[in-house]
Symmetry: D2
Subunit: 367 residues, 4 copies
Amino acid sequence: MSMNTFGHLFRFTTWGESHGPALGATVDGCPPGVPLDALMLQNWLDKRRPGQNKNMTQRQEPDAVRILSGVFDGVTTGTPIQLMIENTDQRSKDYGDIAQTFRPGHADITYHQKYGLRDYRGGGRSSARETAARVAAGGVARAAIHALAPQMQIKGYMVQMGAKTIDRSRFDWDAIDQNDFWCPDAAVAPEWEDYLQAIRKDQNSVGAIIEVVARGVPAGIGAPIYAKLDTDLAAAMMSINAVKGVEIGEGMAAAALTGRDNADEIFMSNEGVPVYSSNHSGGILGGISTGQDIVVRFAVKPTSSILSPRQSIRIDGTPTEVVTKGRHDPCVGIRAVPVGEAMMACVILDHILLDRGQTGGARGKIG
Amino acid sequence: MSMNTFGHLFRFTTWGESHGPALGATVDGCPPGVPLDALMLQNWLDKRRPGQNKNMTQRQEPDAVRILSGVFDGVTTGTPIQLMIENTDQRSKDYGDIAQTFRPGHADITYHQKYGLRDYRGGGRSSARETAARVAAGGVARAAIHALAPQMQIKGYMVQMGAKTIDRSRFDWDAIDQNDFWCPDAAVAPEWEDYLQAIRKDQNSVGAIIEVVARGVPAGIGAPIYAKLDTDLAAAMMSINAVKGVEIGEGMAAAALTGRDNADEIFMSNEGVPVYSSNHSGGILGGISTGQDIVVRFAVKPTSSILSPRQSIRIDGTPTEVVTKGRHDPCVGIRAVPVGEAMMACVILDHILLDRGQTGGARGKIG
Amino acid sequence: MSMNTFGHLFRFTTWGESHGPALGATVDGCPPGVPLDALMLQNWLDKRRPGQNKNMTQRQEPDAVRILSGVFDGVTTGTPIQLMIENTDQRSKDYGDIAQTFRPGHADITYHQKYGLRDYRGGGRSSARETAARVAAGGVARAAIHALAPQMQIKGYMVQMGAKTIDRSRFDWDAIDQNDFWCPDAAVAPEWEDYLQAIRKDQNSVGAIIEVVARGVPAGIGAPIYAKLDTDLAAAMMSINAVKGVEIGEGMAAAALTGRDNADEIFMSNEGVPVYSSNHSGGILGGISTGQDIVVRFAVKPTSSILSPRQSIRIDGTPTEVVTKGRHDPCVGIRAVPVGEAMMACVILDHILLDRGQTGGARGKIG
Amino acid sequence: MSMNTFGHLFRFTTWGESHGPALGATVDGCPPGVPLDALMLQNWLDKRRPGQNKNMTQRQEPDAVRILSGVFDGVTTGTPIQLMIENTDQRSKDYGDIAQTFRPGHADITYHQKYGLRDYRGGGRSSARETAARVAAGGVARAAIHALAPQMQIKGYMVQMGAKTIDRSRFDWDAIDQNDFWCPDAAVAPEWEDYLQAIRKDQNSVGAIIEVVARGVPAGIGAPIYAKLDTDLAAAMMSINAVKGVEIGEGMAAAALTGRDNADEIFMSNEGVPVYSSNHSGGILGGISTGQDIVVRFAVKPTSSILSPRQSIRIDGTPTEVVTKGRHDPCVGIRAVPVGEAMMACVILDHILLDRGQTGGARGKIG
């Protein structure tokens, strides 16, 4: 897990810049014999694709993914899978005026400070376009999970957009795919739409909180101490552009709980497996899955690329006012939903493989 | 960064169980020529040591660290540094009754499910005693940082204990070391003491939020995309026992901000370096340090080992009520403060080394 | 260094099959600011390219490399560099008859046994075409070395082809590029040509020994114990298709030497640097460079794809006689020369970066 | 596999210097439930222990290994296993006179050049004592292999000492343990003894070639391309002190073979498994095991620490003549036999775990 590579046994390396010829992911360690084709990946990429509705950037990218290696006769071969997405709608001229300027809240200045130069076109490597490669890699992980553990489900959704939160009492799984926000509260979604359009008209942007759930993960996945399931999930989510916080289960709110309230009491179900009175732990104890839902949340900051003027400096040190033109998301958190799902899929698959590597997938008996 | 190892170039592997003969850390990749002796490490270990006051577990462990390798004539040689802490106060009998039982909220059940067996004495590998090894490793990192970047300071403190928070307007660096809670708000500390004693008497426990700041980190440390400084910090903090959430800068609160409010505007200082109007970013943009304070927060859940009875099951599946005797912290978050500092030190040093490996430590010029 | 990735700080992952749409290398960790374009890489690829003369396979592949990321305005940006080579001359029909058969001496059977399936077209992932990706990655390493240590030279050549060896007394650096065998003994080259044509006419093939020298590597590069310079070189060379042995300096012949004969005695040169009476060590002591020439040799087995019939089995277990048609090298060792050079370049660059990461590139003073 | 760590899933990090208080290995990733105690490890360490007969250094080290973690109730727990060997016979005074001097053929000078300092006592980290830690780690690997694949056997022996080779026609497995040289040719062993005593009396030393065989390794272990079984074996053996060459199967001699001669023809056995007419490949094709014996050879150079005077320099650059007193092996290759076995065990176990991680241990059917 170093530099541009994520994962232990199931690993991917993303490459590519926003306005280069292409970007993609090199996926290594996928089990052999997993049915896979480009269409299956496209399904997930289309969820993340820009330009789909008025709540997103209007950049039009088909994000068509090609599989260049590692698949033969419709199944994975166990060798590296190269996924390539060509960039087509590169209006580099939109960015020409920022070559000498650092946008506040953006990685322009730190890339320059570290490397002495940067690909300023569309943010180059720091662009949210990088996340398309993750979604493609996550599609491979989902295909492998489907082959190894078909009962498992991974689902992400927005629980907060700017100042607006969902009402958990109206939580509805089926609503998630039926609005532009992946919002599980159908009643609040129209309200969010008005709110976001107002934000956009105000030349502003807004943050969001995404929750991702993995259901059906067997107990015993994960490992102490530095490859804990929660450690890797925290790294996975924090590595996504613009993410500033990650929570497992109760998350930051765990600080205010007492030990008595926080204890997930254990019972034997009629089916003879351990069940819990609650899931404060988010499905992970000691870095290892309990068999309950694995629940992760992360906060995405508001897009720093806004049309409102902000004070900054040029490379030569002179002051300037920056207005970021170009086509940007008023709430980049919307498109972070499939990205969070993809990272969850990659982490879970990786730990399934790690676990069967070390233990053979055997499980301690209870009852 | 896999299994029990943390870090890229500066790496440590922790080993040992709560009630085994010893525990420790194998530290690799430390620069040569760094002045180091056991006393320097002991200084940090003493901060984390149990039994120091009534707000902690009464287990008495001297936590005396020995350096078994990698140091010669008072300086590091560049080869692996073995740090060993012998366990002395192992009252294994306290734990005998939980060999067949899973404590709610504890890793007992998941270790059993994964490995088919567990060292149940004091939680074995999942005990918070593992963090002593991190603090020792962090002491090595601090010594190397002191040699490479003497201006840098790393400081942790508690900003919330259970329902009680500090008043940021009373924040006082000098207060931190002057109370049992590493609390920067001197006025609130006595109140916390009463609160925690009431929790303890109620046979309960409580969570906490720790903030760790690294001051004086040069701009340009860190790297996209999966070894981002914030990614590694999130992994570092989430890997600590009982941590359920990690935040950088604004953290989860970034969701509610607008892009206009969240933008840290940039100016040139009179000294000719970029300065910022605010630090919503927590000192990191695009995974790379800005030169501002690096600010990380993490939430520690309440100790699951409490004297209040809780429902659970035995290995044979029969129901039981668990009361965890033994000597436990009513707020394990207190002792997490030096652990968070240690992890910050390790991450920062690792990234300083990674950066000079790739770039030679050169910096892009501004102004 | 796991699965399809090689290297520590300068790392590359190769991907692609012989008869898929493309193959390539994802290069991570390259220093920023290194001048690089596709033409510089093509230069090295052309050395390895098939179909150039009658001593090679007649498969015609332009092996045109494209840089898809990580380079901007003619220099590396420090982010991942994607190198893609499209396959153009894929006569898959040549291989149709071996889909159900395992060629003796080839990876057909072990891929099938491990993965349960294989891309049988041209050997798929096990084809020597994979080495084109290494040569491209090595070209990046050479460019970075040229920027960091311009005095360094890396040169490979054949010292043995089948039963024929060079005469070391006629060793001539300038001869290497002037014959089809990268042979440093100009007098023996014509003899080798006759020999190889006879081998080919006999529907046979032959092995080879390649020597690669790195000249001008500063003393102090490398590290004990498991990332020793010689360890990584051994891994690098043994990872090349068909390689069965690797030697550093005296290599296997060191066994027959006495300590007195093997000692490279040390003197101070007039320029005030240590010099040696001999180089039995191959420029490496304790895994760290001495400043002398680094000398590595590796043996390439004869191509297993030959026109002579050999006994084998089909997937269904029935016996068969295999004659491998297609266009194969009578001595694949010839094309291994630029591959060995590429691996040497990658290892040396990686260790230069690792060394300056840990030590800052400082050197212990002598004299 | 970086710096002082070896392996992917089954990993160990060695630490410690020749004359420090202790040395050892931190072993991570061992499967849980493997029966293990110190006595089992001691068995292997005693094979490598110095001072056992007149053909070895007379340094007396009990090399008593302690298990400090990761084992509970007689079995491994799946958490890190710390193995510690205390140094007892440290005659540091023997080495005082070399603090300012570089011994020819030794790592003294390169450690100094890299790190600016060195632990000169007994060679510090570069001492062959480090291999005791490998042997201990290898003992853990053997215990795990015994649990997972009890049919497997790993055996090393010397096939050449200095100018003396064995006669392969007299090869006898049972002879190996019955002479001081692990020599499989009983008839030649007495001759070797005379030869070595003459070398010693001449204040000289001599090299050796060791062969290590793993029998009963299932087909399908290993993986392309950079974690090939042969790649990892080459790295494993080359990482051992004083090793200058590594061969798999035919090794360097493969260069002189033709494709016709080198082809291991394939047949179906009466038991319905593939068998081969020969084993030129050394049991590995395309980096994956064939099910035949895995055969590795490595050459150990003669000990550079000899009593014969050799020209060298001091740290201040002045010339000097070095005579290395102290207690050194006339043929360090003898003690390299158990070290090679240990490395073989670690690599094989690691690849068994990696394989079942990726593929679940399923095997493609033949017949």
